[in-house]
């Protein structure tokens, strides 16, 4: 069950996890990108946190929509429009429900996954954050309740699966075959996104 409070914890946890892993994200993006993914995400979550402390929201959807706008307006890299679009569609799917069941939430995450796919023209195996969003959402879609530990494990394994992939989208695509052997930074931050959700949901119950 996701309340407005859970949604807030989710985003706060995401902030914490991003800040803890900022250097790691930077290192990953230095290897196959332009080295700013840690900076981009840290800026995004900090601005989001500021916004969350100033405003109050009636529904999870309203909160997540506001978070989306922060990512869109504050992150200059690909991750801005990607997380921004995903959160926007998650919020749209949540609508004005005061609480979301696990099934509602899975429908929301599915909308987010589709947003990442469409915005990025991403397909499976192209070494992007979609390679985390897709398996995480697909594995649990249709279930009545979410096994949060299993979801975390799925996300972790999905991140690992990007190591062997040959990048076809984003800056890493410039490296071609030489991108193989590296973890995709956006996949890593997406794992944190789902972990933050799992932690918030587990605490709620």
């Amino acid at each position: 069950m996701i309340t407005t409070g859970t949604a807030k914890s989710w985003m706060e946890n995401f902030k914490e996890l991003i800040l803890e892993n900022k250097d790691e994200l930077t290192t990953l993006d230095q290897a196959i990108g332009d080295g700013d993914h840690g900076i981009n995400m840290a800026r995004g979550v900090q601005e989001m946190d500021k916004m969350l402390q100033e405003k109050t929201f009636e529904t999870p959807g309203a909160l997540l929509k506001a978070a989306a706008m922060v990512f869109i307006s504050k992150i200059g890299g690909a991750s801005g429009p990607l997380y921004g679009s995903a959160l926007m569609k998650i919020a749209a799917e949540a609508g004005d429900k005061a609480e979301l069941t696990d099934q509602d939430l899975l429908a929301c995450l599915d909308a987010g996954k589709k947003a990442v796919q469409q915005r990025g023209r991403a397909e499976t195996g192209e070494k992007t954050m979609y390679d985390v969003w897709d398996p995480v959402v697909s594995t649990f879609r249709g279930e009545e309740t979410i096994d949060w530990e299993a979801l975390k494990t799925t996300a972790q394994q999905a991140v690992k699966s990007t190591v062997d992939m040959h990048a076809k989208k984003g800056r890493a695509a410039y490296l071609g075959a030489r991108s193989v052997g590296h973890t995709d930074p956006g996949a890593f931050s997406s794992r944190l996104f789902f972990e933050a959700l799992a932690d918030a949901a587990q605490k709620e119950n």
Partner: protein, 132 residues
């Protein structure tokens, strides 16, 4: 005669601003907006900056958007959604500088948005060094 306008989306404010000047020399009668950099001028793109640029040069005749690399495309498309289904706006898949030159010349002739975007996209096929 109304002319198609251009929006230049680059990760670098300097590139977008410099290209606007270069194209403006070539054809001063075409309206061009530069949408480069993040809001604070850092390296990156911003959907809101792009949306404002699209708004700024809006004309019924249409607008062609040129962009530098993939993540700018994501923000350009998002900007068009934010701007709410603007008519006659085409994002050209073109080398930014070379396509921009071709586009500004084509737009200068009063050509349609389709023809202007096409001129930009053909720049992929125009070698710059005559090695014959």
């Amino acid at each position: 005669m109304d002319k198609v306008s251009l929006v230049l989306v680059s990760h670098s404010k300097e590139i977008a601003d410099g290209l606007k000047k270069l194209l403006g020399e070539m054809q001063p009668e075409v309206t061009i907006a530069a949408a480069g950099g993040e809001e604070d001028g850092g390296i990156g793109t911003n959907a809101e900056v792009i949306a404002r640029a699209v708004e700024e040069v809006y004309t019924e005749k249409g607008t062609v958007i040129l962009f530098d690399l993939g993540s700018a495309l994501l923000n350009a498309e998002l900007a068009l959604e934010l701007a709410g289904g603007k008519q006659n706006v085409r994002i050209a898949d073109a080398p930014m500088i070379e396509g921009g030159l071709a586009a500004v010349v084509e737009a200068g002739f009063g050509s349609s948005v389709e023809k202007t975007a096409e001129a930009a996209e053909k720049a992929y096929e125009m070698k710059k060094i005559d090695r014959s």
